[in-house]
């Protein structure tokens, strides 16, 4: 899989959120290059940092959505909650050797792409205040 490239279609129109998404893309790509080096300890480090930052990003984004008039805030939060639980489950699966770094990288790339492209661009379309 080639590294995930930032594209203008990912832009939500809210610079802070776009910057955070860029950083998430950076983690996914870092995971991929770490995987290429075949170092399980490094993969774990990158995944842990990616989980921390994802939780940070979700909290930030949810707070913005709550103060906007976006109708699907609760649903969006549910999606975050489910994904956060999935992340911790994937970390445990990785530690037990049930999934490999390659699968992890593919799942995260797909999730991030879909989430930014569809969910967040819709959510942030309305002016946030």
């Amino acid at each position: 899989m080639s590294p995930m490239q930032w594209s203008p279609m990912f832009e939500t129109g809210v610079a802070e959120i776009d910057n955070q998404h860029r950083r998430l893309v950076g983690y996914v790509n870092e995971l991929q290059s770490t995987r290429a080096n075949d170092d399980p300890a490094l993969v774990k480090d990158v995944l842990e940092a990616a989980i921390d930052y994802t939780l940070y990003h979700f909290a930030f984004e949810e707070c913005l959505l709550e103060s906007s008039d976006y109708k699907l805030t609760d649903a969006h939060k549910k999606v975050h909650e489910k994904f956060a639980a999935d992340l911790f489950a994937m970390k445990a699966q990785l530690e037990r050797g049930e999934i490999g770094p390659r699968q992890l990288n593919e799942i995260l790339t797909k999730w991030l792409f879909d989430h930014i492209r569809h969910a967040d661009t819709a959510a942030m379309r309305k002016p946030i205040r």
């Binding site: 802070e16 910057n19 950083r23 842990e48 940092a49 921390d52 930052y53 939780l55 940070y56 909290a59 930030f60 984004e61 949810e62 707070c63 913005l64 103060s67």
Partner: protein
Amino acid sequence: MAHLTWTDDLNTGIDVIDGQHRRIVEYINHLHDARMKGDRDGIGEVINELIDYTLSHFSFEEELMEDAGYPFSRPHKRVHEVFAKRVAEFQLRFQAGEDISAELHSLLTRWLVGHIKNDDAAYVSTVKAHTHSASHAHKGWVSRTFGRLFGT
């Protein structure tokens, strides 16, 4: 993992905030020392002090952001709340007898460095602009708020 060392890229340029971040680094290093000694009481003490100081730092930072009119103060505050809850869970696990010190040490290290370099950097320009426009009043505000939150 060795001691965390303060490097210039951790400076936000807001002295009072940098001082508090340095203090948190010291606490993280104390946690490391207590772990190396295998001193469970010492570890518990450092965890409590570290959490207490970090929560005061969060309150201080939140007031600074709000006072400066940083538009994303609320989401930043929410992030603090979520992190505080996560750390409180570690505290409960420790009190229940689990050895969480290595996990907590690595979480705090990652979080502090990431938070300073990325998340705090976002509010710095707003706070600095505000500080320059109201220099004298601001100094008074900083020392009053500092005194109230840290009891100095």
